[in-house]
Amino acid sequence: MKVLAAGVVPLLLVLHWKHGAGSPLPITPVNATCATRHPCHSNLMNQIRNQLAQLNGSANALFILYYTAQGEPFPNNLDKLCGPNVTDFPPFHANGTERTRLVELYRLIAYLGASLGNITRDQKVLNPNALSLHSKLNATADIMRGLLSNVLCRLCNKYHVAHVDVAYGPDTSGKDVFQKKKLGCQLLGKYKQVIAVVAQAF
């Protein structure tokens, strides 16, 4: 019973993206069945809304904290360096059905989560003393993990969706420092922008 079906495995792997961040998970096969370790809570949508509000409430602070921690030229060149020019960012349609929104939310959070993982990894190297930033990144990543768990529960319980194809951002491990910082700043800028929309959608 506790054995997860093959289709759920990639989702769970996404939940542990810290360990595999930077590498997009392969698209999993279709024969996935919905099974959870214990029944999902009935108040999932409310929890998802609170989680989105939580993310939305901290996104700007995270963004500021990030570019401040990167130092110049980032704080004074936000538009150029931190503009939300992120390619392959998962789309989100706020006017879609709940199921669609949940699936898109899942993809979005999975993407953001993986990207935060990359950023966190890079920042620990680039700004080892920016503990507040590290803490904020970790907290945001934790919230996203919880959000994914809730979304998955909701999809499984209500819509019996056991598998969602997800895509991840570019791997920054081979890039230079500035590019790492710039990509991180762009992602967080994008995240701040998107999460406000998503939070509003739910």
């Binding site: 989702l11 370790r37 214990h38 929890q47 998802i48 609170n50 509000a53 934790d142 529960c153």
Partner: protein
């Protein structure tokens, strides 16, 4: 033989064991199970299997096996021989927690050898953990705790397990020192339900608690709001505004708050109604506060829906409300001091500073107005709380207002009565009593309307003057407590003065103590008057400084040195007491104790001695006795004077000296013995006081008188007596009986009679009163009167001596007679006297006898008695009239 065998067996055993030294670590058998853990109360069976090699060495088999638990042999009833090599032992209802079980064999019939040993551990399986609960301290990781259940006596591991619906978290292993709680390693994620449970596991089993499923945000304990600050408003003196910063959790959950406040000097918190702070906020305005009062605030928060835990209280913050005009007029009173200026009085106006809650700000100064009857008003500004002014003897009205930054208080009005004003209408039923460590005063209001009351009090002391403190109460108050710094054990004089519209009324006073205590010193008692059976004690009242309370009574303790102590209670109003029923001539110790409501204190001990006689008693005895003595003496003298002749007759009669009797001259046959001198003539005039006269018939010539016979006996006795004296001279003869040993009983009796009384010759003269007797007869006299005159007249002795010398040529020494015994002294007397008697019978015989005696006395020419006193007493010859007196004198000397 047996000892030798034992020694051999031991040697063989050592040999075998040393021989197989490489195999020493290889046991002869083993026990299964190896490390058993047994549940307490259950059965347990162990099997010992012997190895063939050992069995061959020691020639034993399974029947040789015996079991020991903690070195005690297990009864064989619990053994079971399974086969030749295996034996089992079974324990039922194991209760020991830690038991050492050994398998042993007896080799060679007497050596016990341990084959193998195991340790049986007993315990209980874990109980299902209960009451699992978790808390998420904001910013920290989740911590869960539970009730582990009963003691298992085994090492039990508790594991906190947690998972999301889609993910399992790492187990949380409890630490050894905190087996009932565990803090997870991961950060809490809010708004995702997590399922948590506890697994308890030990060697006897594993058990899982109930699962709890919750959203960590519902278990959160937020951090308290911080940076709390307080600000006031100049517009409103009754409000303070609080601002704070919420914890970061406020970003995604709604909060509610508790706000508490208190004044700085209070310890009791007041709380803002919770419904006013039931939503997230970062500021709050507190209303209905007192002006110019410092308040302290604190705040805490929790999740708005009440799920989770209250945060800790924030740090306290304080603020002072803005000032307001004084809300009340100051208490106002006056003292009139003596003034030397005629027609003026010195009045000191005094007032109390307003308490902060009435001052409503900092009092800048006071404004005093003074108005004499129908005169203009005078204004004064005073910074102090007293003001002295000289006023006339008229009636004045004074007013007082306090001023602060915002405005003035209402005016306090005080009427200073005229000099000759007579106060009346006092309060009644004034009482003062301590209660709740305060001194309360209670009174009944007068019938008239009273504006206010002024209470004054001061400490009564013998050392310091009464410096009054005072306070003011409203006219409606009939009961209050003194709001001063009162001390215990001090006597306070409290005065209540009603203040009417036209001036003060008559004051009424009472004494009271805040708290009484035993007196510091006891009273010193002394005697005012001490009588034979009573004593009046007196003492001084204790000074008020040492009373420490109201002296309710005294107790006098008094006792003698050996007697029990007696206590007498005396009312406190007395200063003397009379102790009665005392014993005369006795030392008494007295001490005195004074008692307040809280106890007593003894004073110094005092001693006094009751006299042997009461005052005047000696005089009452001595004076009558003296009077009686004097009276008796006087009566005796008078009696003696009246009866002097009679007394003389009885006590000192005139006894004629027979030797001087004229009878001797009368006797024709008796030659004159003496040459009478002029002194002897005194008896010739017939001055004898009494003379016994016996008429004896002269016809009895043929037969001698018995007295004459006695005279003869005396001669006999004299002889014997002399002989007796010859046998002993000196002191011994004084005490020894000098009675001669006379063979004849008649002689003995005669001698005794003679020794008892000395009979003197009495002249029997028939021719009395100028009648010439026809026959002169001599008879013995019965008188015992001593003839001491002869002793006082040595010339008589000389005369006698001469006479004796002329008659018998007696040596002079014969006058020295032993005075201890009349019987011994009598011979000479008898000789002298009786010679005359005998002469009437036969002068020749008398001469012969006298000669014999003289011969005897020549042998004992000197008879000296050494008396106990060493005094030698010489009695004249023939003068022994008072036998009894002489005996008593003798006895006196002897004694």
């Amino acid at each position: 033989m047996l000892a030798l065998q034992t020694w051999i067996v031991h040697a063989l055993f050592i040999f075998f064991t040393t021989e197989s030294v490489g195999e020493l670590l290889d046991p002869c058998g083993y026990i299964k199970p190896e490390s058993p853990v047994v549940q307490l109360g259950s059965n347990f069976t162990a099997v010992c299997v012997l190895k063939e090699k050992c069995m061959d060495y020691f020639h034993v088999n399974a029947s040789y096996i015996f079991w020991k638990t903690n070195h005690l042999t297990v009864p064989k009833e619990q053994y079971t021989i399974i086969n030749r090599t295996a034996s089992s032992v079974t324990f039922t209802d194991t209760s020991l927690l830690n038991t050492q079980l050994t398998c042993n064999i007896r080799t060679f019939g007497q050596i016990d050898q341990n084959v193998y040993g195991i340790r049986i551990i007993s315990g209980l399986p874990p109980e299902k953990p209960k009451n699992l609960s978790c808390i998420v301290n904001e910013g920290k990781k989740m911590m869960c705790q539970w009730d582990p259940g009963r003691e298992t006596y085994l090492e039990t591991n508790f594991t906190l397990k947690s998972e999301w619906a889609t993910e399992k978290f790492a187990d949380c292993k409890t630490k050894r020192d905190t087996p009932t709680s565990c803090t997870v390693d991961y950060s809490p994620v809010y708004f995702v339900n997590i399922e948590v449970w506890v697994e308890a596991e030990n060697a006897l089993g594993k058990v899982t608690s109930n699962h709890i499923n919750f959203d960590p945000v519902d278990k959160v304990k937020p951090n308290p709001p911080h940076n709390l600050s307080v600000s006031n408003s100049e517009e409103l003196s009754s409000i303070l505004k609080l601002t704070w910063i919420n914890s970061s959790i406020q970003g995604f959950i709604r909060l509610k708050y508790n706000i508490q406040y208190r004044t700085r000097d209070s310890s009791i918190w007041s709380q803002i109604p919770p419904e006013d702070t039931a939503s997230t906020r970062s500021s709050f305005t507190v209303q209905d506060l007192k002006p110019f009062t410092e308040y302290v605030f604190r705040i805490r928060c929790m999740k708005e829906d009440g799920k989770g835990f209250w945060s800790d209280w924030s740090e306290e913050a304080s603020g002072i409300t803005y000032e307001d005009r004084p809300s009340k007029a100051p208490s106002f009173w006056y003292k009139i001091e003596p003034s030397h200026t005629h027609g003026y009085r010195s009045v000191q106006l005094i007032w109390k500073t307003l308490p902060p809650f009435e001052a409503n700000g900092k009092i800048l100064d006071y404004e005093v107005t003074l108005t004499r009857w129908k005169s203009r008003l005078q204004n004064y500004t005073v910074n102090d709380t007293k003001w002295t002014v000289n006023i006339t003897n008229d009636r004045y009205i004074a007013t007082l207002t306090a001023r602060n930054l915002v405005g003035k208080s209402d005016a306090a009005v005080l009427t200073i009565p005229a000099y000759d004003f007579q106060a009346t209408r006092p309060v009644t039923d004034l009482k003062a009593f301590p209660k709740d460590n305060m001194l309360w005063v209670e009174w009944t209001a007068p019938n008239e309307s009273v504006n206010r009351y002024v209470l004054e009090w001061c400490v009564l002391s013998d050392k310091a003057p009464c410096v009054p403190d005072w306070q003011q109460e409203a006219g409606s108050v009939h009961r209050t407590y003194l709001r001063g710094n009162l001390a215990e054990s001090k006597c306070y004089l409290i005065t209540v003065t009603p203040i009417y519209a036209d001036g003060p009324g008559s004051p009424e006073s009472i004494k009271a103590y805040l708290k009484q205590a035993p007196p510091s010193k006891g009273p010193t008692v002394r005697t005012k008057k001490v009588g034979k059976n009573e004593a009046v004690l007196e003492w001084d009242q204790l000074p008020v400084d040492v009373q420490n309370g109201f002296i309710r009574n005294y107790t006098i303790f008094y006792r003698t040195i050996i007697g029990n102590e007696t206590a007498v209670n005396v009312d406190s109003s007395h200063t003397e007491y009379t102790l009665s029923s005392l014993t005369s001539d006795t030392l008494y110790m007295v001490r005195m104790a004074a008692y307040t409501d809280e106890g007593g204190k003894d004073g110094p001990e005092f001693t006094f001695t009751t006299p042997k006689f009461a005052q005047g008693e000696i005089e009452a005895i001595v004076v009558p006795v003296c009077l009686a003595f004097l009276l008796t003496t006087l009566l005796g003298v008078l009696f003696c004077f009246n009866k002097r002749d009679l007394i003389k007759k009885h006590i000192w009669p005139n006894v004629p000296d027979p030797s001087k009797s004229l009878i001797a001259q009368w006797s024709p046959h008796t030659p004159p013995r003496h040459n009478f001198n002029s002194k002897d003539q005194m008896y010739s005039d017939g001055n004898f006081t009494d003379v016994s006269v016996v008429e004896i018939e002269a016809a009895n010539d043929k037969k001698p008188f018995p007295e004459d016979l006695k005279s003869l006996d005396l001669f006999k006795k004299e002889k014997v007596s002399t002989e007796g004296h010859s046998s002993g001279i000196g002191g011994s003869s004084c005490m020894s009986s000098s009675r001669p040993s006379i063979s004849s009983s008649d002689e003995n009796e005669s001698a005794q009679n003679t020794s008892g009384t000395v009979q003197y010759s009495t002249v029997v003269h028939s021719g009395y009163r100028h009648q010439v007797p026809s026959v002169q007869v001599f008879s013995r006299s019965e008188s015992t009167q001593p003839l001491l005159d002869s002793e006082e007249r040595p010339e008589d002795l000389q005369l006698l001596d001469n006479t004796d010398s002329s008659v018998g040529n007696f040596p002079r020494q014969q006058y020295f007679k032993q005075n201890c015994s009349q019987r011994e002294t009598s011979p000479d007397s008898s000789h002298s006297e009786r010679s005359k008697q005998v002469s009437s019978v036969s002068e020749e015989e008398f001469v012969r006898l006298k000669q014999q005696i003289s011969d005897k006395n020549n042998l004992h020419s000197l008879k000296i008695s050494i008396c106990p006193s060493g005094q030698e007493t010489v009695l004249p010859h023939g003068l022994f009239p008072f036998q009894s007196i002489w005996d008593s004198t003798l006895k006196h000397y002897i004694n």
